[in-house]
Amino acid sequence: MFWDNLDLLISGLATGATYALVATGFTLLWQTSSTVNFAQGDFVTLPAFAIIALHAAGLPLPLAMLGGLVAALIVLGAGFKLALVDPMLRHGMLPLAIAAIALGVAVQEGSKAVFGAEAFAFPGVPGGFDLGPLFINWQDMVTIAAAVVAVIALQLFLSRTRTGRCMQATAQNPSVAQILGIPVRRMIMLTFLLNAALVTLAAILISPTTLVKFDNGSSIGLAAFCAAIIGGFNQVRGAIAGGLLLGVVENFAATYGPDQYRAAVPMVLLIGFILFRPQGLLGRATERAV
């Protein structure tokens, strides 16, 4: 029983780690440019397809991954910002949110048109090792390790480098940052690029487990948003905590709860948090004022 649960915990943490990466990107976009990216989940699917296509075209896997990253930086980072967010944001958040929903539909239907409705295998790390009575997948270990490294690197970048600190200042208060002489526009662009890199990493880590299918983005995006809310929405640390918690809870609920309602787990968690702890796990309560 204990070992079964430990097994669930580890694979839950692995899933949660990828949620955390996607949620972190989500939070960064929200902080720096008030963009709620409803297409974030589909942003994970796209690089996965790009890597599969490049790999199938004969590129060795590492090169294909690099190609996928570059494509993501161009399309999901710079392209998304310049073509959609910049022109839409001045109309307010609602049109942008709806446009992002439409973008999600376009991405899903587009990838269905190109790749069809079947699920593609994605190369991962095969095998595993025995730890007592427990069999541990290498894939889970690699996922957790890569996510931890990425998160630590991100934190170091944000807190130790000049650019990172400028980004944080921009996130906290863009107008003050502007006055302080921080190149706010460049910092915002950097956030979009960072988000593109995070979703590509998440795509590489999660795809071997989930396979690659055109509509995977819906559930990943939802999970990422739930993770961001659970963690307190406004902070990177919260997004990570929320992602891990969600991954673990989902895994346990799927094993011990009714399987048909697996998709409901993030919802119930989300609604519960919004009603009873809207500031999230790590957030502090803010008062509604004028």
Binding site: R284, E287, R288, A289, V290
Partner: protein, 247 residues
Amino acid sequence: MTPVLEARGLHKSFDGVHAVNGISFAVHAGEILGVIGPNGSGKSTLFNCLLGQLRPSAGTVLLDGTDVTGMRPCDLNRLGVSRTFQLLQVFPQLTVRENLVLAGQEHVGTRIGRLFGRPDAGLTAAAERMIALFDLGHLAAARAGGLSYGQQKLLDAAMAFMAGPRLVLLDEPAGGVNLTMLGNLRERLRDMNRQAGATFVVIEHNMDFVMSLCSRVICIAEGAVIADGPPDAVRNDPTVIEAYLGH
């Protein structure tokens, strides 16, 4: 005589910072009370505590001797308390006339009655009177969002008077308003005070405006009342001068 509005030992702290730190004062019927103080002294927080926008950490707010601490702003408004805001707060997509009707409609009849009653809740005439009073006649059908800053400020004040309130709290009504309009605004406030017997509490930085309008002034510094009395006495109070110069 029971004061119209009384604050007793109001406290409000944010993360350990005491924005309002034990404020007590009373406003009597017919008074125009000025509230002055350096920037960041807690004036706006005080207003938000008085008006239910923020819940005070400690202390009570009494309206006609009844405890209304933490009551919702909409319920307070229906008891005859209205306010203006420091930053512009009109409804930009509605016309000037519609802004005024909106400001009065919740005081007319019941909610269900309003759904089946007249579209303007019978307030068009009252709105037109208010429009004339505040010199906004040529703008009655214009979208509020298209008005100049000063005009919006006047509209904002007019909205606060629409429901015939007994007590009006004005947060920097003169800020950003040009001299002509300022005179207009002062006269309107005086009219309302004398004819309708409305009581005012006014936060203001413009000293001339405060001195010429108010019957009594309190000065707030670092979340506490440091002076309370007639305008001239407060202006010349050494602690008040100290508080301003110290900043």
